[in-house]
């Protein structure tokens, strides 16, 4: 039956959030009522193969997707859209154009090597940067930084405005991520600030918000495989490895730009890009892609 619990601090509220669907959450000066989707058991050291929908075996190897499943209206969701990851179509979709644009902008910004160094590349080598270093807790800046935020930060040091979420920023992100193609995502959420972000991201992913009272988890846990306005819902495991992506409605989207669209579609006021909650959800989703290979440039409907 319905349970109400009183939390007294932010930390306690988080602990309670993970324990039940119905809670009363206390903030500094008031007690408010909120609801959560029941938590999945994500564990402390998640791996993409932990996927709760049991579909991982179908999309584990992008080069070996079942063509009949991809073509099946009822079963296509089980391939987790990986048929639109490279090399699904070598004719140039918008993601490839973005990669070219990103390469051009990167070369321009990196005229003296400082831009690459600022992003964390050693000796200008971008290999593995996306797969193993982002998102990160940046000690110098004292906060979680994803690749797009760091591109904005490092471009600003060169006097160039490349806002997180802008086309040119995402284009550079795609270009940088191509140097991680085929490399599994490695993000250590077992300790330190990333562990905290991972736990916070879980809580945010399951918090019900907006005019429809829906959480991210409302669509991506128990209802995976069902249809929402004609679109099949997929698992949130293995979903962080192909961003930024080219949406076939002709829009290059970073992961957090996608969050603003997810929010809008489910009736929740979007946040500014780089908001702490978005950064934490990005860490959480990357952790659920641990061990899954980066693949860009990608496309999605």
């Amino acid at each position: 039956m319905k349970q109400k619990q009183i939390a007294v601090t932010g930390a306690a509220a988080l602990a309670l959030a993970l324990s039940g669907a119905w809670i009363v959450q206390a903030t500094a000066d008031e007690t408010v009522y909120r609801e959560y989707q029941p938590m999945l058991d994500y564990g402390d050291d998640p791996h993409v193969s932990d996927d709760h929908t049991g579909t991982y075996k179908y999309w584990k190897d992008r080069a070996a997707l079942d063509a009949a499943m991809v073509a099946s209206q009822s079963d296509q969701w089980k391939t987790n859209w990986k048929f639109m990851d490279p090399p699904f179509d070598q004719s140039l979709h918008g993601g490839h154009l973005a990669e070219d644009r990103g390469a051009f902008l990167f070369a321009e910004l990196n005229d003296n090597g400082a831009f690459a160094a600022c992003l964390g590349a050693e000796d200008g080598d971008l290999t593995g940067l996306r797969a193993t270093q982002y998102p990160q807790f940046n000690e110098e800046l004292g906060r979680i930084m994803n690749l797009e935020m760091m591109i904005e930060h490092c471009a600003a040091e060169k006097g160039k405005t490349l806002k997180h979420g802008s086309y040119d920023n995402s284009a550079i992100s795609v270009y940088v991520a191509t140097h991680s193609n085929g490399m599994p995502i490695e993000i250590d959420v077992t300790e330190g600030e990333l562990k905290k972000a991972y736990k916070r991201g879980q809580e945010r992913f399951h918090l019900r918000t907006g005019r429809m009272n829906l959480a991210c988890a409302s669509c991506h846990t128990t209802t995976a495989g069902e249809r929402l306005r004609g679109q099949a819902l997929t698992t949130h495991y293995g979903d962080a490895a192909h961003w930024p992506t080219y949406r076939t409605k002709d829009e290059l989207q970073s992961l957090q730009v996608r969050f603003t669209e997810c929010n809008r579609n489910s009736g929740t006021q979007p946040l500014q890009l780089g908001a702490d909650a978005y950064n934490d959800i990005e860490v959480f989703l990357n952790a659920l892609s641990s061990g899954y290979e980066v693949a860009v440039p990608s496309a999605r409907d």
Partner: protein
């Protein structure tokens, strides 16, 4: 599940009248500072459109102002209404044509996102089909409570509490009920 819900509906003894939500429909009280809004737009709830070949994005207006509802921001201290039982003040007094519009319009009820009805493209399967809803003979009291706040019957349901959340007005709920009465 349906039977137990009906039994519960028949057995309700502590009915509340529909309460007026304290905040006005577009109240911004409690809106966190990192909400993505643009005061220059007609609808302040904004989204970032990444203009091709640019280092900035364009803010565009969303189809509905969402500022009054809880967001994901840590700065957002707001809560949500608790499950709310309501008494149905019949009869249904709605416009089925307007109800269909609410039922199928994304920025309004968007009921077809989850429910199947005949003659609408791009419906969903998250909720049960409502193609023959009127033929099932469900009491208006039940339908009204389901639209107003289904959490009273089904704890943890994904069905949005349209009335309790100030998402649809009393008249709009009646319009939807009038439309649903045609589904058979």
């Amino acid at each position: 599940m349906m039977r137990s819900a009906l039994f519960l509906a028949g057995g309700l003894t502590m009915l509340a009248v529909p309460f007026a939500v304290a905040d006005s429909p577009n109240s911004t009280a409690g809106l966190p500072g990192n909400a993505l809004i643009d005061e220059s737009l007609d609808v302040k709830t904004a989204w970032p459109y990444p203009t091709e070949g640019a280092g900035t994005y364009e803010l565009r207006a969303h189809g509905r102002d969402l500022r009054q509802w809880l967001s994901l921001s840590y700065e957002d201290r707001r809560g949500i209404p608790e499950p709310t039982e309501v008494a149905f003040e019949g009869p249904v007094n709605g416009d089925p044509e307007r109800g269909k519009e609410i039922f199928t319009t994304t920025a309004e009820g968007n009921c077809v996102a989850c429910h199947y009805v005949e003659g609408v493209a791009q419906t969903g399967t998250v909720g049960p089909s409502l193609a023959d809803y009127a033929a099932r003979g469900m009491p208006d009291e039940y339908t009204y409570q389901m639209l107003y706040d289904a959490r009273v019957f089904y704890e943890g349901t994904l069905m949005p509490p349209f009335g309790a959340f100030n998402n649809l007005t009393e008249q709009e709920i009646h319009d939807v009920m009038a439309y649903m009465a045609t589904l058979k």
